[in-house]
């Protein structure tokens, strides 16, 4: 597999084509839930994502919805992330965020840790992206929006 094919894994191309969670859902708050929204711009290209998160009173992610414009890597990444974090509790989300950042710093080597890679599931498909420094920000855009929207929801403070 060429490094280009390592970057554009089939999982990524599929998520870019059929994204999960795309289309913003109204945040008319469910009783006791916390909700937050974030808008993030990738300054190097001007691409953007707007993401909303809904957190249960118990501190787990009830739902993520988003709207965005960007390259296949950014769109696929936010889509994969959405599937991954839905239902997860906030500690788990923080762990996944940390793992995904580590993956992006791995320069194509991956995490070399089966447990961690199992946890990341489809998101390990982004290993190839980490060989392209200019594209790492693409893959991280959605994760930045998730973190920020959680912070804005107030959920991080209570957890």
């Amino acid at each position: 597999m060429s490094t280009l094919e390592q970057m554009y894994q089939q999982v990524i191309l599929d998520h870019a084509k059929y994204p999960v969670g795309r289309g913003l859902v109204d945040l008319a708050s469910v009783e006791g839930h916390l909700a937050g929204e974030s808008h993030q711009v990738n300054p190097t290209c001007g691409d953007e994502v707007t993401l909303r998160v809904d957190v249960t009173p118990e501190g787990s992610v009830a739902g993520v919805s988003w709207e965005g414009q960007g390259c296949s890597i950014s769109q696929a990444s936010v889509s994969v992330m959405t599937s991954l974090v839905e239902g997860a509790d906030l500690d788990e989300v923080a762990r996944l965020d940390g793992l995904f950042h580590d993956l992006m710093s791995s320069r194509g080597k991956g995490l070399g840790d089966d447990d961690a890679e199992d946890a990341l599931g489809d998101a390990t498909a982004f290993t190839g992206v980490s060989q392209y420094p200019a594209r790492i920000k693409c893959a991280l855009l959605g994760w930045a929006a998730l973190k920020d929207s959680l912070a804005r929801s107030g959920a991080l403070a209570t957890s």
Binding site: S2, T3, L4, M7, Y8, L13, A16, K17, T44, C45, G46, D47, Q69, G70, C71, S72, I73, Y132, R135, C138
Partner: protein, 443 residues
């Protein structure tokens, strides 16, 4: 200065180029001057560098000239009692003369700057400093009053837009702009209602770094003159790729960068008509631009020194002078013809299904800078697939967000040429581009 250039003035091949374009042998000779072009990328693929509008590659003679400066005559200029300082000063001023001659200006009208962006900012800050009372009587021409207008175009590079927005914000002047038509050229239908008695500055790009369109300079200069507005030409994309004679164009100011015209990074030039430079207050202040300094007050040196505060980018200026000589020896008329051929080749991408070119589709009044979008594939993904084949194009908004917004796109991919670019490279680019949609299953 040009001690190792393969192509030399008076070369019969070059004389031919004066009437036609560059021949295959000439082009091969030119390419041999550029060490970076021998590089391979992405696992041994030959590099096809189509990103010259961002920055050009450098001929060996420019690199050698710069190194020779450092190894033989590096010293602070304009002030030494020692031999190195004399030699450094001479090299520095000869470079100024070379750049001036290359763009049809007088020596005293060329101010060294770190780049075109800095050069445009110098003019914008001259207006705001004058408005704050700096520069005395002489600077009256640069003083803005409420209701005064600054005109730019919707096609500008951020370098020729944001400094004017900021000037407007600092002074209360109003920013207006000439819109862009669907074909990517300036829409001059409303010119007379945009450039009016209230207009104090008209700033516009000579050649768009997105569409490649050449602006109708004569028309714009005439409109500005009619109302007494000063003109500022962003000549970044024209100076490296076509003959430019600033006196003939009749603009008041112009800015261009060394790194786009085969010269080093970190150097550029501001051109200003002598009389205007004399009247302008400085922007950056410090050493070497002063006459008498007391703790209380400072008087300024005459131009160009007034606008050259601090130790200058001497080695880079010398390199830029050498680059100007190199291009001058090639002959800019031939270079421009060569690039017109390349533009024609590039524009054939419009025939690839799903590819849309942003900008003029014909080769009249345009250079070999072609931006495009691919249906269903983001520009960055397009660029990545081309890169994998060794083809370097630029992706993004190319520092022209308003122009991209005008065409309803956030980003484009852009192929651009320089004197060393070949038709074969453009063909390789076209072929690679034809396969992009399939790669992403977008067909």
């Amino acid at each position: 200065m040009t001690t190792t250039a393969t192509v030399r003035p008076g070369d019969p091949a070059l004389q031919a180029a004066e009437s036609g374009s560059l021949s295959t042998t000439e082009l091969a000779a030119v390419r041999a001057d550029f060490p970076l072009l021998e590089r391979t990328v992405r696992g041994g693929k030959p590099l096809v560098y189509l990103d010259s509008a961002a920055t050009s590659q450098k001929p060996q003679v420019v690199l050698d000239t710069e190194v020779d400066f450092y190894e033989q005559r590096n010293a602070a200029v304009h002030r030494g009692a020692h031999q190195l300082a004399e030699e450094a000063t001479e090299a520095f001023e000869q470079a100024r003369a070379a750049v001036a001659a290359f763009v049809g200006a007088d020596e005293g009208e060329i101010v060294w700057q770190p780049g075109a962006t800095a050069a445009i900012n110098v003019v914008a800050y001259a207006f705001s400093n004058a408005t704050l009372g700096r520069g005395g009587e002489a600077a009256a021409r640069f003083r803005l009053a409420p209701g005064d207008e600054i005109v730019v175009t919707e096609a500008e590079h951020h370098a020729n837009l944001v400094p004017w927005q900021e000037l407007a914000a600092r002074t209360g002047a109003v920013l207006r702009w000439i819109p862009v038509a669907d074909d990517g050229r300036l829409d001059l239908s409303g010119l007379d209602s945009i450039v009016t008695e209230r207009t104090r500055v008209l700033a516009f790009g000579h050649v768009s770094n997105v569409t490649g369109a050449i602006a109708p300079v004569a028309t714009l200069v005439a409109a500005a003159r009619r109302v007494g507005a000063l003109t500022v030409l962003d000549a970044c994309q024209s100076v490296p790729n076509m003959p430019v004679d600033l006196h003939e164009l009749g603009v008041d100011f112009a800015a261009f960068s060394g790194h786009k015209m085969l010269g080093p990074t970190g150097v550029g030039a501001l051109y200003g008509r002598r009389e205007l430079l004399e009247a302008m207050p400085p922007t950056v202040t410090g050493g070497s631009m002063v006459e008498v300094v007391t703790m209380e007050a400072t008087t300024y040196a005459p131009p160009p020194q007034r606008f050259e505060a601090g130790t200058q980018m001497v080695a880079q200026a010398v390199g830029m002078g050498c680059a100007a000589e190199y291009l001058g020896e090639l002959g800019m008329a031939g270079v421009a013809r060569h690039e017109t051929e390349l533009a024609a080749e590039m524009l054939k991408i419009a025939d690839i299904p799903g590819v849309r070119v942003i900008g003029p589709l014909d080769t009249a009044d345009r250079l070999a800078v072609v931006s495009f979008v691919v249906d269903g594939v983001h520009a960055h993904d397009v660029g990545q697939v081309l890169d994998d084949k060794g083809i370097a194009v630029r992706v993004g908004h190319h520092c022209a967000q308003p122009l991209h917004r005008r065409f309803g796109v956030a980003a484009t991919a852009r192929a651009s040429a320089s004197v060393y670019t070949t038709v074969e490279e453009v063909v390789a680019f076209r072929e690679a581009l034809a396969g992009v949609r399939a790669f992403f299953g977008a067909e």
